[in-house]
């Protein structure tokens, strides 16, 4: 263990910004639930009405957790935030562990550290300590922020503990996964799969008799019953699990060599079938297309399963009516128009990441040997661009399909599948405009591809806070999403869509011209 504290200090130094964003983000998630619940249901009567509508909606319960004390502000916050907050904590722990264990070994940096006068277990211990510190800090700040908002201290503490301890358990899972496999990506895959199973177990358990929820770390946190007559003994479960996982990781670490995993890497094919730039681009990005599609399908189902109870959910306050009926039309259609834009914007994350991928290929030096073959530069770039365009369409389609399916499941209205899918798909075009702008920036200078994230962030701000912040109209009109008909609340209009298509094609073409004229960045 010699040197563990030095290594820990080094970790904290490297991670300070990353930790800040994760922790601040999650605290904000909990805190914003309190604010928005207060905004949506200003009176006890509103709360009672909402609670009555929600408590027997199985889809809601599957998504969020067991419905307890929903007629109180605390109960609402716990219900809306506890599952997702726990997932955020788990992801933070997973990335912290992966980054400091397997990724360090994979890059060989670990050897440099291990060659110093430190104990064999020091890097592992430092990483475990880092995760403990991060999760404790996150849980404490969640509790404090809710207490300072005026919620009962006991429930706030339980909610903070639930998030922090779930994070800790998945930190343990990630630590074990990092011993098992040789690549960081595979370690994330294992941890992510365990997290997915944990979420699904508690979803099924919560809808049923609750037994399966006891198998899930997320369920353990929810069994602390925050704001609903807290029970404290389930705290033992995550603590014991984290200790067991941590010692398991140490035991596994002791039986493997540095750089290799307990499970040897599977060999790949000796002969390759990849023979074109398109095949390679698809191979490199297919995981991302599938992952985003599944994620947005589930997100769509979540929105869709609210069904036509929208009115109950968003309450009677003037604020919520202003937000959700801005598009005109019925409140249900208006809500789904907002949801469609929201999901498409999230899908924009795929589009921008996909453009960034090209930049990554270039910066990592992967492009150089390819471009030294008979592959023309434009065709290399076009292959990735095609994946970006098709992938974005698929991802947004999945979101719309999910929404339609969710809606149909809850209301029994099968025609909603086609209607909501059709209403969501056009929003892929403004997202592609954002991608095209990122692509143009990339064409001019490799590093500028990151501008795409700024564009996406700008559109989010305009959509969520444009009216509240009273941004000038011309500024908000820069967001390509502002120009489409708000389907399904409004009738579809082809012209704005056609104009956006032209803008996207023009930007992409200009980007291609620029890319063909500039130097390729070396690794």
């Amino acid at each position: 263990m010699t040197g563990a504290l030095t290594v820990l200090r080094f970790h904290l130094r490297r991670d300070r910004l990353m930790l800040l964003w994760w922790i601040a983000g999650n605290v904000l998630l909990y805190w914003s639930q309190a604010v928005s619940t207060d905004g949506l249901y200003p009176t006890q009567a509103d709360l009672d009405k909402a609670a009555a509508g929600m408590a027997d909606n199985a889809a809601f319960i599957a998504m969020a957790g067991p419905a307890r004390a929903l007629d109180t502000l605390g109960g609402q916050v716990a219900w809306q935030a506890s599952a997702f907050g726990a997932i955020v904590a788990a992801l933070m722990s997973m990335f912290l562990v992966g980054r400091h264990t397997r990724a360090e070994e994979e890059t060989g940096r670990d050897e440099l550290v291990r060659a110093a006068a430190i104990g064999r277990h020091a890097p592992l211990a430092a990483t475990a300590l880092l995760v403990v510190i991060a999760d404790v800090l996150m849980g404490t700040l969640i509790a404090l922020s809710l207490i300072s908002y005026g919620l009962p201290a006991g429930g706030s503490l339980a909610l903070g503990l639930a998030a922090g301890l779930t994070g800790l358990v998945f930190g343990g899972v990630a630590l074990v996964a990092a011993q098992l496999v040789e690549s960081t990506r595979a370690a994330y895959g294992i941890t992510g799969a365990v997290l997915g199973v944990a979420y699904a177990l508690r979803a099924v358990g919560d809808v049923g008799n609750g037994a399966l929820s006891w198998l899930s770390p997320i369920g353990w946190g929810q069994y602390l019953r925050p704001y609903a007559e807290e029970q404290w003994w389930p705290l033992v479960l995550p603590v014991v699990a984290a200790v067991l996982l941590g010692s398991g990781a140490v035991a596994l670490f002791d039986r493997r060599d540095i750089g290799s995993g307990v499970w040897p890497a599977r060999p790949g094919p000796a002969r390759g079938s990849l023979g074109s730039a398109s095949a390679l681009a698809w191979r490199l990005q297919r995981g991302s297309v599938v992952g985003w599609s599944v994620g947005l399908l589930l997100g769509g189902i979540a929105y869709g399963s609210i069904g036509d109870d929208v009115a109950d959910l968003i309450g009677d306050s003037q604020f919520s009516k202003d937000v959700f009926t801005a598009a005109g039309g019925s409140i249900v259609d208006s809500f789904y128009a907002t949801a469609a834009v929201m999901l498409a914007l999230i899908g924009g994350g795929f589009a921008i990441a996909s453009v960034q991928r090209l930049r990554g290929e270039e910066a990592a030096g992967f492009a150089e040997p390819l471009l030294a073959t008979a592959l023309p530069r434009w065709r290399w770039a076009a292959a990735h661009l095609v994946v970006t365009v098709v992938g974005t369409l698929v991802v947004v389609l999945a979101a719309g399909l999910g929404m339609g399916l969710g809606f149909a499941m809850v209301t029994g209205d099968g025609s909603a599948v086609l209607r909501l899918t059709g209403a969501t798909l056009p929003y892929a075009v403004p997202v592609l405009v954002l991608a095209a702008v990122a692509w143009l920036a990339y064409g001019i200078r490799s590093r500028w591809a990151a501008i795409g994230w700024l564009g996406l962030g700008f559109c989010f701000v305009v959509m969520m806070f444009g009216e509240v912040l009273q941004l000038p109209g011309w500024l908000m009109d820069v967001s390509p999403l502002r120009h489409l008909a708000q389907t399904p609340a409004e009738d579809f209009r082809p012209w704005p869509l056609a104009v956006l298509v032209v803008v996207a094609v023009a930007a992409a073409a200009a980007g291609m011209v620029a890319l063909r004229r500039r130097d390729v960045v070396s690794a």
Partner: protein, 297 residues
């Protein structure tokens, strides 16, 4: 003669820094041309201009009589390239990368591919993330040497290989050259250049400072001589081209400009030579002299 690569007065700037400052380079058909220079001299930049990855800011560059920037893809059918730092997609196997690069270049010679994998002792089923630097280099070498091309461009291709594999590499380059094909070999491993290259160009700070056959260049260098004589010599320090003379009794050691070697030996003969060792200049010394001047200035 048939010139494969012809560069005259090549200039390349990155912002305010000038990486190449009027560089000249000619590679003739059928020769292995050594391209020597210290780190940062501009070797890789020159190669990247030749590959059409970087755009020249000045000068004339032709390859097979064509412009490497405009006709990049067409020219690349006729050449294969091995970068100094081979970066591969971590989740593809070595075999997949070899086949991908080969197909994109216009096809691989299957038999040669199999033989090269065996000779370089490469395991093509391993994922690229698990390869060492040397193994990644082998992947790129196999992909390059198994293609049917007229020109190999190699940028410090053996920096990660062990001596055994270096020998395999040397044999492969010899075989490649026997077909009348050309190689541009950038390196700072001098033994490799001496062993392989017909001609060399030495560059420093983006300019060509010397070019010619190894024999040509040796005229510019000194031979070190160490002799044991029958009687103590005198007057050696007055000879033209003699440097660093040290006389200890009947032993004399000195360096002499190679062009004055004959006169120096005649002078020694007058004192009765018992033993004589002379060492021809190595490329190492040639190199050191060029960069030594830089250090001195």
């Amino acid at each position: 003669m048939d010139t494969v690569i012809d560069i005259a007065g090549l200039v390349k700037r990155f912002g305010h820094t000038t990486a190449l400052d009027g560089l000249d380079l000619q590679v003739e058909r059928g020769e292995v041309h050594g391209f020597l220079g210290p780190n940062g001299a501009g070797k890789s930049t020159t190669i990247r201009v030749l590959l059409g990855l970087l755009r020249a800011d000045g000068g004339i560059v032709t390859m097979f009589g064509q412009d490497p920037w405009h006709d990049a893809a067409e020219l690349h059918r006729r050449l294969a390239y091995v970068p100094g730092d081979v970066n591969l997609w971590p989740n593809l196997s070595g075999g997949e990368v070899i086949d991908l690069l080969g197909r994109l270049r216009g096809g691989l010679d299957e038999k040669r591919r199999a033989r090269l994998v065996e000779r370089f002792e490469l395991d093509p089923t391993k994922k690229a993330r698990t390869y060492s630097k040397g193994n990644r280099q082998k992947v790129a070498l196999v992909a390059a040497l198994a293609s049917d091309v007229e020109l190999l461009i190699l940028d410090e291709p053996t920096s990660g290989l062990d001596p055994l594999m270096e020998a395999v590499f040397t044999d492969c380059v010899d075989e490649f050259k026997d077909g009348g094909r050309s190689v541009l070999l950038s390196s700072h491993i001098l033994a490799e250049v001496e062993r392989l290259c017909d001609r060399v160009s030495i560059i420093r700070a983006g300019r060509t400072v010397e070019t010619g056959t190894l024999a040509d260049l040796r005229h510019l260098t000194r031979t070190s001589v160490s002799a044991e004589l029958s009687q103590a010599p005198s007057g050696l320090d007055g000879l033209a081209g003699v440097h660093d003379l040290a006389v200890e009794g009947v032993r004399a050691t000195f360096e002499v400009d190679t062009v004055h070697l004959g006169e120096a030996l005649q002078a020694l003969g007058r004192f009765g030579v018992r033993t004589l060792t002379s060492q021809p200049p190595t490329l190492e010394e040639l190199f050191l002299r060029h960069y030594g001047e830089e250090v001195a200035s």
